[in-house]
């Protein structure tokens, strides 16, 4: 949304310099409304809460009574989070692993599926439907489904492999060394389908003559993909990167369903929720974690916006 507003302002500004004379009153009103309304919406629903979170993160407000009862405590929340809050660093690490897994495994796998299905093999529609099916499910539902598969004693995997009744079950959900990966498989199951659909659309848009030319020049399949098809997918790649980063940073529902995001499944989003929502009500403390998450999120956003402007200038 921020980008829309940015470009909106930009064209608005350029128009005023060059063709200001030709703007009728109706045009001016339309333009004003189109600029003011989205700006107000963004301001009220995005910037106000963001600034409020930043301010609250320097207080010890417990959410009871007015904000007036909050005390300014400087950076104490940040200091405590980084030094004595055990789930914090694991959460950062898990978010990073999450991002790495989606980037290195799930997204390329989605691309692979899209590339294969784009060849119009027999039954491609059926495969597409099967791979896309998880995408229509919410991650909360996916968490529920995969718990039936992973449960140590009642679950499908351990019962099929005979590990359910032994004295040493494979604890897919409770072993903190294992459960993150088990969850990532479930997440990848959905993410690959999502990426597949986006890439399928991108592949359909590639001019077939490009591939033909590559084939005539004697390029092998891998070579043609690497040097011709993949570069032609550049616009869609940017979307994919953004989608992947967003998915990794907003991950929440699946771990919350499984064990409230504890014991090996800590994520920054969960720590924010744990502290702010619920009986704990450490609004200031949770806001500080939220601010850290905002800062982390801003990095890929800046890179993305920078990239899109660069492109336009070329």
């Amino acid at each position: 949304m921020a980008v829309d507003v940015a470009t909106g302002l930009k064209t608005g500004g350029a128009g005023r310099g060059a063709r200001a004379v030709r703007l009728s009153t109706a045009d001016r009103i339309t333009l004003t409304v189109m600029v003011v309304v989205p700006t107000a919406v963004v301001g009220v629903f995005i910037w106000f809460p963001t600034v409020a979170s930043i301010l609250l993160s320097f207080t010890n407000w417990d959410g009871i009574g007015g904000v007036g009862t909050a005390h300014w405590i400087g950076t104490r929340n940040y200091h405590e989070i980084a030094t004595i809050y055990p789930p914090f660093w694991p959460a950062v690490e898990h978010n990073a692993i999450w991002l790495a897994f989606l980037t290195v495994v799930a997204t390329p796998f989605g691309l692979f599926l899209a590339y294969q299905l784009d060849k119009n093999i027999r039954g491609t529609r059926i495969y597409q439907s099967i791979f896309f099916l998880p995408v229509v499910l919410s991650l909360a539902i996916i968490g529920f489904i995969w718990q039936l598969i992973y449960s140590p004693t009642e679950g499908l995997i351990n019962n099929l492999t005979g590990n359910a009744s032994s004295t040493h079950v494979i604890d897919w959900l409770g072993n903190p060394k294992l459960n993150l990966w088990a969850v990532l498989v479930a997440v990848g199951w959905r993410h690959a389908g999502y990426i597949m659909v986006l890439y399928l659309a991108g592949l359909k848009a590639i001019d077939p003559s490009l591939r033909e030319a590559a084939a005539i020049d004697g390029a092998g399949e891998w070579h043609a993909f690497r040097t011709v098809v993949f570069p032609a997918l550049r616009p869609i790649n940017i979307v994919i990167v953004v989608v992947t980063v967003i998915e990794a940073l907003r991950a929440f529902d699946i771990v919350y369903i499984i064990n409230n995001g504890r014991n090996g499944l800590e994520l920054l989003s969960v720590l924010v929720t744990d502290n702010i929502i619920g009986e704990a009500s450490r609004i200031g403390y949770g806001s500080a974690i939220a601010v850290i998450l905002i800062v982390i999120s801003i990095v890929p956003i800046i890179v993305f916006v920078w990239n899109s402007f660069q492109e336009r200038d070329v």
Binding site: P86, P152, S166, G174, N263, N275, G278, S281
Partner: protein
């Protein structure tokens, strides 16, 4: 099932109903004699508190916020309210919210548009809201039925300022549950001491059983083990001070609790951190596990009547002779009145009814896993487990409310749940664990 058929009611309740009808007549026509007559009968039968009969005016509609989203308690409350409306003419408008959601949203709920009366728990979890001025004190209600409750119940219903805020309806004990048939078939005997307990675990292991069902995916069940070990080793007073933030977590006393706990780990269910309490209950009920420390709500999982009848329990074994088996976790559920209550008279009338033996009797007829808080309520309809639970609670010198009800909610949920799970994963680093808990405790309690 028709609730209107008189045969469905026990004599006490029937007496209560008839009397309140008389009472209505009395209130309307000024027939004081009838009221006095009713009053005496009521005292004799112990159905309704004596002073109750003076107030059968209908006070419109009281709103009630309920966390009783499970089918059994929900149905039980419906019957209680039906009886209340029949007795007084005051209507109850119930809003039921999912149990966990209700808990999660309590802060915003109480500051928004809360119902007049709502379900909650005794302990610090109630005192916290009283201190934050979100509740209405109900000393006047307690003056009418205070004598019907034990001193422990009365103490548990007060805020830190000494005023009454809470009306208890039932509680349930935490104890070690087992199947009688498993103990009989293998010749096991109930352990009284720690050494007997460990010996029994060893024997069960050689017999191919998981000695102790244990699950902590939900995060809170492990608190039960910490509580009982702490109370057995260091005593109830230390538990209260520790939960209140007045003791250091990195002391030798707390380390002793974790060290004792470590002895149990080899006998726990495999994969405990990935299992829910329901799955643990199934291990015990299906005879895969020998014992299970849990609240008596574990009985809900024995859906087959024969299995339920086979369940039994014993109080946690003694560790330190100085404290014996004198303490128990027996959380109390009940009701509070919000600060913003609109229908104050109706709300107090409802609270007075909810604290009566009659209300507890009706409630426990449907929900049979708990024990009434009111001394005068009937035990005649209790099943064997309920009778035993009532006896255990009655004979315990000290009754704790459970860690997440006895301490600050932020400390319980953001510090203790992860800390106990960390202990179960890395039981050998007790020193590092307790020093970290202590640092966070200082940050949260501010001392």
């Amino acid at each position: 099932m028709s609730d209107d058929s008189p045969s469905m009611f026990d004599p006490e309740e029937l007496a209560g109903r008839t009397m309140s009808r008389r009472g209505l007549v009395a209130a309307a026509g000024g027939g004081a004699a009838a009221a006095v007559f009713g009053l005496k009968t009521a005292q004799a039968r112990g159905a309704v508190p004596a002073s109750w009969l003076g107030e059968h005016l209908a006070y419109g509609t009281v709103s009630f916020g309920s966390n009783a989203s499970d089918p059994v308690p929900k149905a039980a409350y419906q019957k209680v309210f039906k009886a209340f409306t029949a007795a007084t003419g005051t209507k109850v408008n119930v809003n039921t919210v999912d149990h966990n959601t209700f808990q999660q949203q309590i802060n915003t709920y109480l500051q928004g548009q809360p119902q007049d009366v709502f379900t909650w728990f005794a302990g610090y979890r109630m005192q916290f809201f009283a201190e934050k001025n979100l509740l209405t004190p109900i000393d006047d209600v307690w003056r009418k039925f205070g004598q019907d409750f034990s001193p422990a119940m009365r103490a548990a219903s007060k805020g830190l300022d000494g005023h009454y805020y809470f009306v208890p309806i039932y509680n349930y004990p935490w104890a070690v549950f087992y199947r009688k048939s498993v103990f009989a078939a293998n010749g096991y005997t109930v352990p009284r001491t720690w050494d007997q307990f460990i010996a029994l675990c060893k024997k069960m292991q050689t017999d191919g059983l998981t000695p102790l069902a244990f699950t902590d995916k939900d995060g809170w069940p492990a608190m039960g083990t910490f509580d009982i070990l702490n109370m057995r080793i260091n005593g109830y007073d230390f538990h209260v001070r520790l939960m209140g933030g007045k003791e250091a977590w990195d002391s030798a006393k707390v380390k002793a609790v974790f060290n004792q706990w470590r002895e149990l780990l080899p006998y726990y269910s495999s994969g405990a951190l990935g299992l829910t309490w329901q799955e643990g209950a199934q291990q015990m009920i299906t005879k895969k596990a020998g014992m299970y420390l849990l609240g008596s709500f574990v009985g809900q999982q024995a859906t087959n009547a024969a299995d339920h009848a086979d369940l039994d329990f014993f109080p946690y074994p003694m560790i330190n002779p100085a404290h014996g088996q004198d303490s128990i976790d027996a959380p109390i559920d009940g009701f509070l009145m919000s600060k913003k209550a609109k229908n104050v008279k109706g709300a107090k009338q409802l609270l007075q009814y909810l604290g009566s033996a009659a209300a507890a009797n009706i409630y426990l007829r449907t929900d049979t896993n708990d024990v009434a808080a009111n001394k005068l309520s009937t035990t005649a309809r209790y099943n064997t487990l309920q009778k035993k639970a009532a006896k255990l609670i009655g004979s315990s010198k000290n009754i704790a409310q459970y860690m997440d009800r006895d301490t600050r909610p932020d400390f319980a949920s953001t510090v203790m749940i992860p800390a106990l799970q960390q202990f179960l994963n890395k039981p050998d680093d007790v020193n590092g664990l307790v020093s970290n808990i202590q640092k966070q405790k200082k940050a949260i309690f501010g001392s």
